[in-house]
Symmetry: C2
Subunit: 413 residues, 2 copies
């Protein structure tokens, strides 16, 4: 019979400082939500047997579904499978079939597996094997009474297809509908100002919500079970309250919004970056297919490149300095020219910690926008935080301003 499930995730890492953990959690939350199952808790432990078994014992008390990622590799520090088998009092059985699939994978690369890979051919007694097209560690699903423990490899490319498969089979069992989360995006307004306006409106509508502040955008999340007509009311309220700062329902990231506008208006973009060092360009090209509207970027980290490639004039650099509205405008102009583009975005500033002066503190950033017809706009900001945060805020503010400017400039016509 269909039932409601509670799930938890345990990530096992060679140590806690393990970059993939966040990605694993995101993948599992997203995929399980499609089956109506929410991940309520996530535990991260190192490759230590007692830590792993303690976490499993704890999670099994509260949850119906437990997904463990990581620690299935070939090396001797990978002990997840052994620890879970021991905890469940089950044997590990050698599978000739899995070993052959590992041999085959190595053969395709023209090599033979080292002997240590043989450890990956052992499976927990009475478990279901999930094939791993992207790697050598098979996934395992173990029934423990009414509960399920899944053991999946940690690398996201290997984890994702297994999680999809697992969620697919759970969907048939689960009584819950897919969890629809409504995300409304606001950009250009600070978090507490958003909350002050949103809180009374949501109270009136009787909606439970949560606010997330990303460097990109403030997100208002409405959690499961919200009626569609209420969603519409929330949207109308946000549109009327935040105007052009309202980024829409389930909005893509700002750099994708910019890409969509460029595609729609058939405009080509070029970017000139100084302090942001290539981050804006990296984000634009994160989107597959961005080559349709993106000509390229010029990271003019030195004045030499500002002069040679972007044709920022010596007098401008001398009179106003590299970090100035004038240089930002000249960079925007140069980017359009060098990139044969219609519009441009430029950044020049002090990312810190070095290079700051009394007049020009770390965090000072000028953003330029170039538009057809030799029109240029510049904006000045003082961001706070460390080097990384300053660069991130600058780039996101740039995309926000570009999206707004493109909408304003091209809708009037």
């Amino acid at each position: 019979m269909a039932k409601t499930y509670r799930s938890e995730v345990i990530c096992v890492g060679s140590e806690l400082l393990c970059d993939r953990v966040n990605t694993d959690i995101n993948i599992l939350s997203e995929i399980l939500a499609k089956a109506g199952i929410s991940v309520k808790k996530c535990i991260i432990v190192g490759d230590e047997e007692s830590e792993i078994t303690d976490a499993v014992a704890e999670s099994l008390k509260r949850s119906d579904i437990l997904i463990i990622t990581g620690g299935l590799g070939p090396t001797s520090d990978d002990i997840t499978k052994d620890s879970v088998a021991k905890f469940l009092n089950r044997r590990l059985l050698y599978s000739e079939e899995i070993w052959e699939s590992i041999l085959e994978k190595f053969a395709r690369r023209g090599t033979a597996p080292p002997e240590i890979n043989k450890r990956q051919a052992y499976i927990i007694e009475e478990s279901e094997v999930i094939k791993n097209p992207a790697g050598t560690a098979p996934g395992l699903i173990v029934n423990v009474g009414e509960k399920l423990i899944a053991l999946f490899p940690g690398p996201p490319v290997e984890l994702r297809p297994m999680a999809e498969f697992f969620a697919g089979s759970l969907k048939k069992l689960s009584a819950d509908k897919p969890i629809e989360v409504y995300r409304f995006g606001i950009s250009g307004t600070p978090e507490s100002a958003v909350e002050e306006k949103v809180q009374p409106a949501m109270k009136k509508l009787g909606i439970k919500y949560t606010i997330l502040a990303h460097p990109q955008m403030i997100e208002i999340l409405i959690i499961p079970g919200c009626m569609p007509e209420k969603v519409e009311k929330v949207e109308n309220f946000l549109k009327n309250t935040f105007n052009e700062d309202y980024m829409g329902l389930n909005p893509p990231p700002l750099h994708e919004i910019v890409g969509n506008i460029l595609k729609e208006k058939k405009l080509k973009l070029a970017i000139a970056e100084s302090c942001t060092g290539g981050l804006a360009s990296k984000l634009v090209t994160d989107i597959p297919g961005s080559s349709v509207y993106f000509q390229g970027a010029f990271v003019a980290y030195s004045n030499t490149v500002k002069k040679r490639v972007l044709k920022v004039s010596r007098p401008i650099l001398k009179k106003y300095g590299a970090v100035s509205a004038e240089t930002a405008a000249a960079m925007a102009k140069g980017a359009i020219k060098a990139g044969k583009a219609d519009v441009s975005l430029s950044f020049t500033g002090i990312a810190g910690p070095s290079g700051e002066t009394d007049e020009k503190p770390a965090g000072l950033v000028f953003i330029g926008i170039g538009l057809p017809g030799r029109k240029y706009k510049t904006f000045k900001f003082i961001f706070t935080g460390n080097r990384e945060r300053i660069r991130e805020q600058a780039v996101n503010k740039g995309f926000y301003l570009l999206a707004r400017t493109l909408r304003d400039s091209f809708n009037e016509k």
Copy 2:
């Protein structure tokens, strides 16, 4: 009396999919290690009272020190402080002093705090307040019998100074010496090949170790208590076994290694990127002070920019295509010229998922290196994984090849 501590971390997020969690864990692990305290487990839960109190109850059973991050913001979904107070059966007391410091912070920005910020001026009865220079939420340290619970804000810039302060006071109490972790880096050799060579050697030396595979580098970690003379033996073994693939003890990331070589040799670098879209440039400029050796980058995402700025000739693009060794070499040449640089690095390939053909599959990347005296080298790779992974691998391989080439070329002279 000095004692040995076990610590755990609980991250509270508006939802589990919260980008800062990994950063918080890294910061706490790193800083507590300096006080000889290791983080054994990390739990991530949402903003739900029962989840928070369950996690606190569980962690207190096993650990002496519990650090909770997040959920201290001004908005109504931030309930960490309330939940912990309730769990401990303590009151929340209003602190005029904290409220005044919040008023002051807003005044400096020329505004007044919204009324909801007043929530941040309440502290748990009998707790110690830690000032927050970077934000408005104070940190709290609560004594619970022999144990300590610290509540710190989630944003990394606010968390770090508080964690430093906390670790400083724990250091005086802790019986343990700072935990020295030795990280040895290997690049250019696959993980299982590293393990096969390392495993017997470490066994002979009687050393417990763990292997981590990053996109940048394979790391071999030797955990606490290793004798210095053994560390030296490990280093010698790795040097002799992996030669130029051995990246050193506690090596910085590859792009920083490249930066250090450039600085030492007084060489200036320019980068030309196509498929990597600015990622290489972004990484180089992540390092403060990189302007000393970095001239700039040209993200030639379109053939227009390849031709106009990098002077890749029409015949080369026509005959070999944009994704070819010939174009990579021409880009490396163009980058040196346009950037007035001594050396260059170039990338052209298919990051996928679009743009691939039978002859040129996604993952195919050509890397070019330009050296003084018009010398150019090119390398061909087929990387696997998704768009992000392909770009990441390409860039890291590029930095690795550049570091090796610079060492080879400039040491011979």
